[in-house]
Subunit: 329 residues, 2 copies
């Protein structure tokens, strides 16, 4: 039970707000995730199991369930699980590319099994997502998730193409956020709406909702990387800078501080220099402006939640939107 | 036009045998592959385009088309393209894991763009396959292709788990062949049969056909790696040995030659040693036995081609089966 989102305070409140069906559905998602990880022989079970059981907030499955607005049964569980599998596949591949030893406090698949096994594990989780989703018998759902999968890969490609380029345009940064984060949130909401029987109209509004909170989520992620506190995020401040990833706080701070504008990101080579740059970014007020931009996306997301939704569903979705920018990690 | 399979002698004969609709459909597959590669901005177009335009024999799309038995229109083109995209995605990831500089005589995505871009390019091609296939509106097709995608990843995982283990059992080797090669051939035939309107009964026979020729294909691949000639296969002999991949010729030869049975694959460190081991394997007669096993799978494949199929379709499928073991690379 410790891996279920219920252990987390704000998520518990959302789960409660969403209705009595939400927690049992999330638990069935956990069961199905475990089943998928364990169903391909011992080699995979070790790798995929460790990724999947490491948990995380299960925010995307929660969105699928809340967007459905009701207990739509096994199809909804499959959709929520499929979204989390695509997310997990991406994390596994990212950890290979980042040579990351740990994630969520546990060793990564890359660290325990090597880059080869980790690459294949990611591929497998990705393929499994579509096997699960195909069972729902709705080509629109497959299209939504595969589009998101394409977007994730394109977003990562762009991010790596943009690496170390301090002069990256704001539009380009937002495009990356959209591709690498927002589209999967969008797909989560669309899948939930489709499986919940909301029809194409309901799905369109909730798609928008998902995309907006995804943008807010990514922007806040980038703010937290600069702002810390490190003991809450579990990472040093400035890891993006050290990876050469230029994000909104730095983009905004460069407009305000000529010394930052002149900084070559390649010169930031160690954590203590990175923390100094983070302090300097914070001193410009760029973090407040970035947070304000995230909040604008949250407000826009809340504005598109259809008024005709059942009250519990509506309020749970609004809480998710607020929660995206209230989180610490 | 040079990238179309028509340039290849035996394939030309099969394309001709299959009927007048086959070549135009293969050309539409080429167009759609190019469209997918070009449709995601310049960053991707370079990577994916080079992978896709490098061509290859397009054997899997050909199987999809032949299994359909008729010009089933755009859905068939999408299915054939989706199968080739999954195949291409796997090749791109394999090249990253093998640090391979060239494939089919061209630089790999890994070599030109690095492991990060290549990993993401593979992910993108994989996701795109499902976007295309979803448009066919048939969940069975998505299930068939995602199952094959899972199998590919599991097969590669097993292969890497088994690396350098000379005492690997024959059953385990065959399981790997099935997962990493035969299942995608199976999916190709199933997709074609489904899209061609052959129904579940027709699809079941053709699935079997595909799986059997896939096994034969992989076994022959492994024979060619030992047998050469290198000027036809485009590779040194013994690359599998150098990678630590123990295949059928070595498994059979170890039963016949005590010195080979005592050989630690890790001792094979350079191409000239590998070629010597290849000669020694050949001297045991293991290559003939391995070829005979491949031919048994071909015969079994031919036996399951339904008698009621139109004569042209039947004879083209039989030619594909024979072609799988007649090829040089």
């Amino acid at each position: 039970m410790s891996a279920t989102p219920a252990a987390d305070g704000p998520v518990t409140a959302i789960v409660h707000a969403g209705g009595e069906h939400v927690l049992p559905l999330l638990e069935r998602v956990e069961d199905l995730l475990r089943e998928v990880a364990g169903g391909h022989g011992p080699v995979l079970a070790g790798h995929a199991g460790s990724t999947i059981s490491a948990g995380g907030k299960r925010l995307r499955p929660l969105l699928v369930i809340l967007a459905a607005g009701r207990d739509a049964g096994e199809g909804l569980v499959r959709a929520a699980t499929a979204v989390e599998l695509v997310h997990s596949a991406t994390l596994v591949h990212d950890d290979v590319l980042d040579l990351a030893p740990r994630r969520r406090g546990r060793p990564t698949v890359f660290a325990t099994a090597g880059r080869e096994a980790a690459t294949q594990t990611g591929d497998l989780l990705f393929a499994q997502a579509f096997t699960l989703l195909a069972a729902n018998g709705d080509p629109e759902q497959v299209r939504a998730l595969s589009d998101a999968g394409s977007a994730l890969a394109r977003g990562e490609l762009l991010q790596r193409a943009d690496a170390w380029d301090a002069a990256i345009a704001l539009e380009r940064y937002l495009q990356r956020c959209d591709l690498k984060t927002a589209r999967l949130f969008q797909a989560a909401c669309e899948l939930g709406a489709l499986e919940g029987g909301g029809g194409v109209g309901g799905a369109a509004s909730l798609r928008d909702f998902g995309r907006r909170i995804g943008l807010a989520f990514q922007i806040l992620d980038d703010v937290l990387d600069v702002a810390g506190p490190a003991d809450r995020t579990g990472k040093h401040r400035g890891t993006d800078l050290l990876d050469g990833t230029v994000t909104l706080p730095f983009i905004l701070a460069r407009e305000r501080d000529p010394e930052l504008a002149a900084l070559d990101p390649r010169a930031v080579r160690d954590p203590s220099t990175a923390e100094q740059v983070c302090d300097r970014i914070a001193a410009t007020g760029a973090l407040d402006e970035a947070r304000a931009q995230a909040l604008e996306h949250v407000a826009a997301a809340k504005a598109v939640v259809p008024a005709h939704l059942p009250e519990r569903q509506r309020s749970a979705l609004l809480m998710v939107a607020d929660g995206v920018v209230a989180r610490y990690s």
